[in-house]
Subunit: 426 residues, 2 copies
Amino acid sequence: MSTTTEVPQDLKQYTLETAQRAKEASRQLGAISGAVKNQWLKSAAARLREQTTFLLEANQKDIAAAPQYGLSEAQVDRLRLSPERLEGIAGALEELVMLSDPIGEVLESTRRPNGLQVSKVRVPLGVVFFIYESRPNVTVDAAAICVKSGNAVILRGGKEAFHSNQAFHQILSQTLVECGLPEHAVQMVTTTDRSAVGHFLELSELIDVTIPRGGKSLIERVAAEAKMPVIKHFDGNCHVYVDLSADLKMAAEIIVNSKCQRPGVCNAAETLLVHSNVAAEFLPRAAEILQENGVELRCCERSLPFVPGGVAATDADFHDEFLDLILAVKVVDSVEEAVAHINHYGSHHTDAIVTRMIEPAEIFLNQVDSSAVVQNAATRFNDGGELGLGAEIGISTDKFHARGPCGLRELTSYKYIIQGQGQVRS
Amino acid sequence: MSTTTEVPQDLKQYTLETAQRAKEASRQLGAISGAVKNQWLKSAAARLREQTTFLLEANQKDIAAAPQYGLSEAQVDRLRLSPERLEGIAGALEELVMLSDPIGEVLESTRRPNGLQVSKVRVPLGVVFFIYESRPNVTVDAAAICVKSGNAVILRGGKEAFHSNQAFHQILSQTLVECGLPEHAVQMVTTTDRSAVGHFLELSELIDVTIPRGGKSLIERVAAEAKMPVIKHFDGNCHVYVDLSADLKMAAEIIVNSKCQRPGVCNAAETLLVHSNVAAEFLPRAAEILQENGVELRCCERSLPFVPGGVAATDADFHDEFLDLILAVKVVDSVEEAVAHINHYGSHHTDAIVTRMIEPAEIFLNQVDSSAVVQNAATRFNDGGELGLGAEIGISTDKFHARGPCGLRELTSYKYIIQGQGQVRS
């Protein structure tokens, strides 16, 4: 096996032909049973385990090239494969086997007064163009989710993971063919020329949805250029609001977990809002634990006196997603003020209230306009696995089509099947 | 009452303020119960009946201005209101009362192993920008569907119906305020300057979805310019395929009804496909009845000999949506060829098969990639009322978010509500 690939000469023609092959594959995929798709997932998992040496060698080329891309130590670590990580990737494929096939699911079926049987049936979206950055495991996860949901996918990974991605793709392609699935159900873009992305984003007749996953500038560029629908996956500016009726011990555990358990992810908390009635009691306590965990606290004028070692926050601190051990802190006078702050400064991702009272909980859960609103738990639970969706391809910050974690069902559409015995309209 | 309105001086500022008022109204609407929204629908229906004279006078101004817009007799007829038509519009509002409130509906709710209760709950999209053409009843229908589904709406009707639309809007606004709903839940664009549309299409932070309903060029322009999601409502290039096993009497009734019952609508048939085994028997019979109904038949080479009075079709005839008493006719040799033709030439709207056999029906229903696929019934049934959705704001030809008829539920999103007792992630 080798990971050498030709670089396409005419980019525009290359993107068109790639998308045409994907469309054709998506038509074929529509007729393939769940059992066959599951057989592929199992075969691919087995092959990944067999080909550990091949995959680690390919990955080694990326690791060797990392300095030329200026990757930090943490970034190199995310890029690195190991036998344990490969086992994790293979295991994730096997977990997908356990999820029921979304395609063909009858969402509703009614008999109309005129005898027509009307069924709303789940179908694939068609072709997914998935653009992502460094971690190579995403290549396998995304391909598997797309194919299991009946979609063909065009993968465009980061240049830092080029060799690893190519190696994964070779294994996925070969097992697709061996299992009787269309080879082009999973295609990998073989050029790192960034203008290829622009060409793909024009092809709205062939590509049904684009999913960019990465930094904000990538997502903004894709959303601005794409002629087809985009599922946007912005990072989250998430809040924890501690109500005057909160169990303060619980509140401290929740903000510490929401901020510190994994600070670099989109469902980590970025701002702590505290009701003025409990600020004097809660803030010094919470600040101490947060600071023990290495968190820098950026405080509004009213919270600063209660936070020894805190620094004064600017307005920008309440807009920012730090993705780091930094937390903005603000005192508010009511749940309504907390809701207004969140709807103004937040990114409609995940926001939590800690309270023992029903009324503020209802106001918060109903009025905060976010993909997930949380009562008495950490923001970190807004995640496909934690919510029971199984694997996810991203967390949508849009309201349209899919909101929150995007799993198998979020990559589907539906059609109406109308069955009659000669009915006509009068 | 009067229908005089000021023409805004600064269009860009005007569109921004209109959208900001809509966003604020949408926030307020989220907290309003279904009972209050229903009370508004009933009040508006009653007021429309009381204000018949006012409405007919406003409509008369549009009728008088019709010649300057070069409207045809049929177009003037669609524009014209009458006491009977007003009763129909009021009655449609009362029918909406009967439909259950989509907002707050719990789509799914599960208890996770860690004790978290995870509920997926239906919420409004937010702000709808609705662009439509002449018929003034659409003003009332669209406003009612949007408000009942918890959305604020910005209505942009055609200039031909300007006075009628303004009069309807006055009544809707007044009854909104009287019923305790936000006045700006329904706003009407008070300028006919087309560049206002362009300004609205920029406001993706304030407008959640744009729905253009009208000619293809309008929809294409909106889809190209809009920075927010668009639900596209293209007209339909719909097919009826008569299989070799069809009940030919039923097939004739279905194609005649699909073509002739209302030829100017999107779910009328535009192409008849006939299996070669039954072409000689079926086509002369069907052609005779279609021609009696005034239908011009444009035939492929193989069908022409069986259609006395038919004319030779061009390739363009199979792409076109005639919206008129014209039908393209083509002979095919298999259900697979019919499916391939439809997926290539069609507009993914509504396509029907007439057959007595299970296998071709399954192939057709599974493989035709359209919002509705129909077995042994007319294409005309792809309609919100006929499918049991109640009122509709359009028929989506997209696969993303909403496909087929868009009723109340298609104007909604959802959020996850996560309720715990202090859970944190480990």
